[in-house]
Amino acid sequence: MTENAGGESKGNTPQGNVENLMDIRDIPAERLLDEVTKIHFDEWRLVQICATKIAENRYEILYTFGKGYDWKNLRITVSHEDKVSSITSIYEVAYLYENEIHDLFGIEIDMMNYDFRGKLFRTGVPHPFA
């Protein structure tokens, strides 16, 4: 996992020269489920999911996994047009994070086990982070 391609991550960020202090692996969005399944198979737990807006209609989603005190991250980059597949079938507790991402960023997430249909936070402004 340390074979983190720094170049890859640079490519995604608009600033270009972000220094990466964490163990992050960028993967294409389609491979997400495969990778997560693999990680789950190795008995890592899900620590968090977090989205960041990096440019207009460009978002990166960071999946953090932990095992003991070790952590590792996966990152995918998506836009509003993409449908991100939910990992709740693998990690059932992901539903809170995914609902949150949907509510705050307006990113469509497919097939969550608990879908709050955008009513988790019920914000006044729809998708404030978008």
Binding site: F116, R117, K119, R122
Partner: protein
């Protein structure tokens, strides 16, 4: 006394007519007319009888020689046996047939061999008879009236059942006739005959739907009742052969200290009575009987038939006082009272709750009879009266609610006071009559408690106090369901027939009237019963100041609606504004919805407590049956063994 013959035969005649009329649409008006007319005639007759007897304060025996009638009775018994045999073979339930043979053949043998002890008169009536007649005649009359409308709706709602309403109504009348026969007979053999008619009647009525479940349950009822009948038969045999006693009144004359064998008879008869009034190991049949259409439940299983058992026990009460039989009966009664009321808590089907409650209340009466002291008999008699009226009212209201709203589940009666206000009020009266303070049952309970203490029965007292507590729980939550006012809910269409109202209103009025009139009832009806039974002037059971206090309570309750009306009129005085109920601050616009986790309006649903895991039927029924059966077997062994 032609009136007695009238009361016994007239219902049979009406039954025959009703049956022959068939049940095409055309005959409905005629049938309605006949049933109503017959019911009112019966009521008039019992009232007439009651007035005459009460004014005369007399005990009359009657009909010394009745050979033709005896033959008739024998033929009847044979017929019943054949009927039972037929049905048992048809539905492959041989147990019932066996029990029937065991019960009938010895009796026939006894009669034919001429060994039957000759009693004096075959008929006898005293104040207790009259009191029971009033119950059977008046409550039964109203129930038949109610039944006409009910059964029509019933078939509308359940088109899958074959319509046999003519047969249904006919059976009700057959039953009434049998009941009168049972009450008036003094001859044990005759009592047995009528006893068996009621058993078979109830069997037929329970199986009315001819569904799998109802057939099962009807046979359950049949075999339990026949088992009781067999015990009855054994009692008659022993009485005739060993004691040469053939009538109930002769049996009562026997000194139980001098002739210990009499206790065997009493115990056997008591056993029969326990089955008939569905005491604990035998409560199953009454619960199963709830599949029958409501009038059946009301008539057979609350107001009258089950009362036959306690009636017999009350007759035997003086004999049981202070004996082991008495102990057995009180134990079973007390335990039933407690256990059945627990099970009622864990039940939500309205009729089933009523069934449990019936069993439980009968337990109380049985215990009263078992104690056998004047106060306890007083209490038992009062309980029979109040229970019959209130409970049949309850049954009929539940039936009407079921017809109007499609469910008799208590949970669905949420907000009944808004949905079906008239029925709700009647139901409230019925429930209050069943257990709340100033109403009749409580008065009787007061006396029962007193007599239990005086008799020194610690267990009984404990059963009573704990049972009373659980009783208030299940009635209380039912009452609560009715009272729940749901914001903006609409009244349902009240489909209750006029005929049904004609039964409901008078009965409701009777509950109230009896509450106010209980001192009078006590003085003029019940007190004489005691005097006759114990052959002394029994002191008034309930004292003057107590009556005053009870009446005061009643008056308070009665003035409450008035006070409430005044308050509501001057609403500004007390209350100012309607607001929403408290739902943690997320009512969604009204009192019926809240915003749920998904942010949608979620209908609120409030269910009652049932404590299924603690006291559900599945949980405690079996242990209770085992305990009760254990008590019965052990006590019977001791009693019979001891006497022999």
């Amino acid at each position: 006394m032609q009136i007695i013959e009238f009361l016994i035969f007239f219902p049979f005649v009406i039954a025959a007519i009703l049956y022959l009329l068939g049940n095409s649409e055309r005959v409905y008006p005629v049938r309605k007319f006949i049933v109503k007319g017959a019911a009112f005639l019966i009521m008039a007759a019992v009232i007439y009888l009651a007035v005459r007897v009460l004014r005369g304060q007399m005990v009359r025996t009657y009909l010394e020689k009745a050979d033709t009638a005896n033959d008739f009775v024998m033929a009847g018994e044979l017929f019943l046996m054949c009927l039972v045999t037929f049905y048992s073979f048809r539905f492959r339930k041989i147990l019932a047939a066996l029990l029937s043979w065991i019960g009938t053949i010895p009796i026939l043998w006894l009669e034919l061999s001429g060994r039957a002890a000759e009693g004096t008169d075959h008929f006898k009536f005293d104040n207790l008879t009259v009191l029971m007649c009033l119950v059977v005649g008046i409550v039964g009359g109203f129930i038949t009236i109610y039944a006409i409308g009910y059964i029509k709706d019933y078939h509308l709602r359940h088109p899958k059942f074959p319509e046999r309403s003519n047969w249904f109504l006919a059976m009700l009348f057959v039953f009434l006739g049998a009941m009168f026969g049972l009450l008036f007979s003094d001859n044990l053999g005759w009592i047995y005959f009528f006893w068996e008619i009621t058993s078979v009647c109830s069997f037929l009525l329970i199986g009315y739907n001819r569904e799998k479940e109802s057939i099962e349950n009807s046979f359950k009822a049949l075999w339990m009742n026949l088992l009781g009948g067999d015990a009855f038969m054994a009692g008659i045999l022993y009485a005739s052969l060993a004691l040469h006693v053939g009538t109930l009144s002769d049996l009562q004359q026997v000194d139980n200290r001098a002739v210990p064998g009499v206790m065997i008879v009493v115990s056997l008869l008591a056993f029969a009575a326990l089955t008939k009034s569905a005491q604990l190991p035998f409560n199953g049949w009454l619960l199963g009987a709830m599949v029958a259409p409501t009038p059946t439940s009301a008539l057979l299983h609350s107001a009258t038939m089950v009362k036959a058992g306690v009636y017999l026990l009350i007759r035997l009460a003086p004999l049981m006082q202070g004996t082991l039989t008495g102990v057995m009966v009180t134990l079973i009664g007390g335990f039933t009272f407690f256990a059945a009321s627990l099970m009622a808590i864990a039940t939500s089907d309205g009729k089933r709750v009523l069934a449990h409650s019936t069993v439980s209340n009968l337990g109380l009466i049985v215990a009263c009879a078992g104690v056998g002291r004047p106060e306890s008999v007083w209490a038992g008699t009062m309980l029979i009266l109040f229970h019959a009226v209130s409970k049949s009212l309850m049954f009929m209201t539940v039936g009407a609610v079921e017809n109007a709203s499609g469910s008799r589940n208590i949970e669905d009666m949420h907000g009944l006071i808004v949905k079906l206000p008239r029925l709700a009020v009647v139901m409230i009266i019925g429930i209050c009559g069943m257990y709340l303070a100033p109403f009749g049952m409580l008065v009787a309970k007061w006396a029962a408690l007193k007599s239990y203490i005086d008799s020194g029965a610690v267990w009984l007292v404990l059963f009573l106090v704990f049972g009373t507590a659980s009783t208030s729980f299940y009635w209380g939550k039912w009452l609560g369901k009715i009272f729940a006012v749901i914001h903006k809910s609409q009244a349902l269409k009240d489909t209750t027939h006029n005929g049904e109202w004609q039964a409901l209103y008078p009965l409701a009025a009777m509950v109230i009237a009896m509450c106010f009139g209980f001192p009078l009832i006590s003085n003029y009806i019940v007190q004489p019963v005691l005097n006759q039974m114990f052959h002394t002037e029994v002191e008034p059971v309930i004292g003057g100041s107590d009556i005053a206090v009870m009446l005061l309570m009643l008056i308070l309750v009665a003035t409450l609606p008035v006070a409430g009306g005044i308050i509501s009129r001057n609403r500004r005085g007390i209350t100012d504004q309607n607001t929403r109920s408290y739902m943690s601050g997320i009512n969604a616009g009204d009192d019926r919805h809240f915003l749920n986790a998904y942010g949608d309006a979620q209908p609120l649903y409030m269910a009652n407590w049932y404590m299924i895991d603690l006291i559900g039927e599945l949980k405690i029924m079996k242990p209770c049956l085992a305990i009760a059966a254990g008590i019965l077997v052990i006590m019977l062994t001791i009693i019979i063994g001891g006497a022999i």
